[in-house]
């Protein structure tokens, strides 16, 4: 005998679960990581964009941070590790540094998500700025230690400012993706 269940609040036609639907769901769920991967690949190509070398880590870090705060299931630690390896292989920094920084940013977002996700956007922006300052400082310290001399600080400051500045734009993209692509799948 079937147990009585209350009628669904939003009676909708459910899509038939099949290969097409599964692929659709998978693609929607992979979108954040694919976006970061695409940014990495595109910005490592010789596009001759000014400040290309600093733009790539900035965008990658903002994306990792946002998804780690709001939807860590779509940006798991293992995926961040894989993306970090890709960034490392495509850049010319000392190997592993960018990977570590990405994991740290991800860890900060992940551990503080219950507080961070409830914050106002502007406060979140400020918090991200502070996180970036520390992350970039750590990156500079690591690069200097591995190069055995003090490397120039200006590119790192520039990268930090670039990440801070690109946060709003990426936040808009993130919100749009979250509402219309990722969350849509669960409503469908």
């Amino acid at each position: 005998m079937k147990p009585l269940s209350p009628p669904s609040l939003k009676p909708e036609i459910q899509p038939r679960s099949g290969l097409a639907h599964g692929t659709d769901l998978l693609m929607r769920h992979c979108l954040p990581c694919l976006f970061v991967l695409l940014v990495t690949l595109v910005l490592s190509a010789p596009l001759n964009i000014p400040a290309q070398a600093e733009l790539m880590p900035a965008i990658v870090q903002v994306s990792v941070f946002l998804w780690s705060v709001f939807r860590p299931s779509l940006m798991p630690s293992v995926a961040v590790f894989g993306l970090g390896m890709c960034v490392d292989l495509l850049s010319f920094e000392p190997p592993g540094v960018m990977l570590l920084i990405m994991l740290v940013v991800h860890g900060v977002g992940l551990s503080g998500r219950y507080v961070l996700a409830r914050l106002n956007v502007f406060v979140l922006w400020l918090v991200f700025g502070i996180v970036m300052v520390f992350a970039t400082a750590l990156q500079w310290v690591l690069c200097s230690a591995l190069a055995l001399h003090l490397v120039e600080t200006l590119p790192f400051m520039f990268e930090c400012i670039l990440a801070f500045g690109s946060f709003p734009v990426l936040y808009v993209i993130f919100v749009w993706t979250y509402h219309f692509i990722v969350n849509d799948a669960n409503r469908a």
């Binding site: 001759n48 961040v80 495509l90 190997p95 592993g96 540094v97 992940l110």
Partner: protein
């Protein structure tokens, strides 16, 4: 549908507590691995470089696809710019052409006049110097910083102090001659000093190389400063170097430091001609002349001036 994500993860039969504990350990473990990667990168740099190069090789076609339209676009914009400047360019070229036509007429008239004058004056023409042409073999980085080695045929008559010219101007002087090669000291070497004449200010000066691409002009008269852009030619002060060979033109790097931009393409010398001017001018004997004593020897008087003994 809602709980689908949670159901799918369940693969290993582990308790919820241990799964949560493992989930919490993933990030620290990955951070440790990242530190390991950093250490590995420091310890085995070639491995990382190799991997990076392989990734770059894999992505090279894609990068090519990205670079191709960029190059086309740049070309197109360059073409458009050219088209926009076409009018101005045409006007400039027409004026320049008219100007050059004028100078051509002047030159032709002067050449005619010169020929007539020389005919009337019984001008002794300069002897055409003999020359050999050789291929530049390599830059010798030995005694001189700026010198080239020239491969020559053993039969040819190349002597020390031969003058090396390329198609555009003076390149240097032969300093050593071997059996099948000759070393040419370029005018840019720091041990090269050549007397030159500045053509429009008519000043004599010394062109001194300093191992850079542009030799300095030194010892020029202070009341007759070199003029920017004027031609620099050799002057006939030394025996083996005739007057009037083109060297380059004057350029001021900064006020007070005139340099010569060499006419010869010294950066990419390919073929050089070695001219032999050494026997062009043979000084006649001077019978009454007392040869100067060489250093370190006492002077001996000619016999008629020697004090008579006894």
């Amino acid at each position: 549908m809602r709980g689908q994500g949670g159901d799918r993860i369940m693969v290993m039969p582990v308790s919820i507590q241990s799964r949560q504990a493992m989930g919490k350990l993933v990030l620290p473990f990955l951070i440790l691995v990242a530190c390991g990667v950093i250490l590995l990168g420091k310890a085995d740099r070639p491995l990382i470089e190799h991997m990076r190069m392989q990734v770059a090789d894999m992505l090279a076609p894609a990068y090519g696809l990205v670079a191709w339209p960029q190059a086309r676009l740049r070309e197109l914009s360059g073409n458009l710019q050219d088209i926009r400047n076409l009018e101005a360019e045409n006007i400039r070229l027409r004026t320049e052409n008219a100007n050059l036509q004028h100078w051509y007429d002047v030159a032709a008239a002067l050449a005619d006049e010169n020929a007539t004058l020389k005919a009337n004056l019984h001008w002794i023409p300069d002897e055409a110097p003999s020359y050999v042409t050789g291929r530049v073999v390599r830059d010798t980085s030995g005694l001189y910083a700026r010198a080239v080695l020239l491969s020559i045929n053993p039969d040819t008559n190349v002597r020390k102090d031969g003058i090396a010219l390329d198609g555009a101007g003076l390149a240097g002087r032969v300093t050593e001659v071997g059996k099948r090669s000759a070393r040419v000291l370029l005018i840019t070497d720091s041990s090269s000093r050549l007397p030159v004449t500045l053509e429009s200010s008519h000043a004599a000066a010394i062109m001194a190389g300093d191992n850079s691409g542009t030799p300095k002009i030194i010892y020029y008269p202070q009341d007759n400063m070199p003029v920017e852009g004027e031609r620099v030619v050799t002057n006939g002060e030394i025996e083996s170097l005739p007057a009037g060979l083109p060297v380059g033109h004057v350029h001021y790097l900064r006020p007070g430091t005139p340099v010569v931009i060499p006419a010869a393409g010294l950066e990419h010398l390919d073929i050089l001609r070695i001219f032999n001017y050494a026997d062009a001018v043979v000084p006649p004997d001077a019978p009454g002349r007392i040869p100067l004593p060489t250093l370190g020897r006492t002077m001996t008087l000619p016999p008629q001036f020697q004090p008579k003994r006894g």
